[in-house]
């Protein structure tokens, strides 16, 4: 059965709103434009592919349609990427970033650099900005509130808990979305260079504590549903896993923005730790917020 045109229009509108909501800071960031000017095409292809994999993962585990087949998830991910490209191109053009004196490579690169975070924003927006009675998502959790599904064709496939790999994917998406907002800025490098090792260790501990706090004590909706709180050991393990994901995401983004080029190992690690704070915040918040959105 088809969704009505009005339904899908609403869904795209949500996606576009989400894309702008999450990535406008980046569209307005000079370093992002410059990253587009200096980026090498091979690295950009890698960026596009990694983003596509993240979109696949996000749509699979947190997307609107829990019962979606792989084909549907793949198609949705392409659509989100397409929307991201269009949104990035329109905003960049309106901001006067795409001018006639630029070469094709410059224009394409700039749009691609921006479009990938917009695409993740579109994906998150589509799934999370749903209003009451407009979501068509299948049952995901044991929940007390009944939800009206306006599309009877959606099969109900109850799942008590998002699988561990699903949590990792969503944590990764959260980390990328948050960390990408500050990663291209000069500030990360400045903090990394000027901070003493002890302070970096402090940042590291702060990230871990953040993660543990958010995952356990906070009042985020649905937190208890996704993270079974069973003792300090479990909390600690989860905080470390979240932080590991955050560090991985941070390192990837920094590498992509060329922040590792020609830097010593110490500075690379320091930058990763500095960005890891944002990443850890995004990863743990992502694990809860993004999923809690589905649990409402």
């Amino acid at each position: 059965m088809h969704r009505s045109i009005a339904d899908s229009t609403r869904e795209y509108a949500r996606g576009i709103a989400g894309g702008l909501l999450f990535s406008l800071p980046l569209l307005y960031t000079m370093e992002m434009w410059f990253a587009g000017l200096t980026a090498r095409p091979a690295r950009l292809i890698g960026y596009v592919l990694v983003t596509y994999v993240l979109l696949l993962g996000y749509n699979r585990y947190a997307g609107l349609r829990e019962d979606a087949s792989f084909a549907e998830v793949a198609i949705d991910s392409v659509e989100e990427m397409g929307l991201g490209l269009v949104i990035a191109a329109v905003v960049l053009w309106l901001c006067g970033r795409l001018t006639g004196e630029m070469t094709n490579a410059e224009i394409v690169n700039q749009i691609v650099v921006e479009a990938m975070t917009v695409a993740i924003g579109v994906s998150v927006g589509t799934a999370q900005l749903g209003g009451e009675g407009q979501t068509e998502s299948g049952e995901r959790n044991d929940e007390d509130k009944p939800r009206d599904d306006n599309d009877g064709a959606e099969q109900q496939s109850p799942k008590d808990e998002v699988s561990f790999s699903g949590q990792l994917v969503i944590a990764m998406c959260g980390a990328v979305l948050f960390a990408a907002n500050v990663a291209p800025t000069e500030e990360i490098l400045v903090i990394a260079i000027e901070s003493s090792p002890l302070k970096l260790l402090g940042l590291s501990i702060l990230s871990l504590v953040f993660g543990a706090l958010i995952l356990t004590y906070s009042e985020f909706r649905g937190a208890d549903k996704f993270v079974r709180v069973s003792g300090a050991r479990f909390v600690l393990m989860n905080a470390f896993i979240t932080y590991a994901v955050a560090l991985l995401a941070s390192a990837l983004i920094l590498w992509f923005f060329g922040r590792f080029d020609g830097e010593s190992l110490e500075i690379c690690v320091a930058q990763t730790v500095v960005l890891g704070v944002a990443g850890a915040f995004g990863a743990s918040a992502g694990r809860l917020l993004l999923q809690a959105g589905n649990a409402q």
């Binding site: 059965m1 088809h2 090498r40 095409p41 392409v78 659509e79 990427m81 929307l83 749009i111």
Partner: protein
């Protein structure tokens, strides 16, 4: 694999998106395949001097024929005059991408047509 349920609008969005994404990947692949590692190669071209309310201005075009983007390109244009001190104008371009060019002006007090102009690229990253 269950059948994909989509209405006409969704198919259109998908088709357009697919073309865009494939186009981008195709373009980037082509670019990656044809791109070498030649360092930035900066050329400075001067236009015809124009009279301004105060002094004169000469259009400067900086072109990068290398295969890497040049950052912080600084260009110096010197106006050598007979019987007077030489005037220098300096100009900086934050980015001159590979295969791309940027335009600007350098200003002089004297008419550049009365002297000789020399250009020099001071440096870039």
């Amino acid at each position: 694999m269950s059948e994909v349920k989509k209405n006409i609008l969704e198919w259109i969005v998908f088709a357009v998106s697919l073309v865009l994404v494939m186009g981008v990947i195709g373009y980037l692949s082509y670019d990656a395949a044809t791109l070498g590692n030649r360092p930035p190669d900066i050329q400075v071209l001067l236009g015809v001097s124009e009279s301004r309310t105060q002094g004169f201005a000469i259009p400067v075009t900086v072109r990068n024929t290398g295969e890497e983007t040049a950052e912080g390109v600084r260009v110096e244009v010197e106006l050598k005059l007979d019987g007077a001190d030489a005037e220098t104008g300096e100009l900086e371009f934050p980015f001159v991408p590979r295969g791309g060019q940027r335009e600007g002006f350098v200003a002089f007090k004297h008419d550049p047509n009365t002297g000789r102009l020399e250009t020099r690229v001071l440096g870039y990253e």
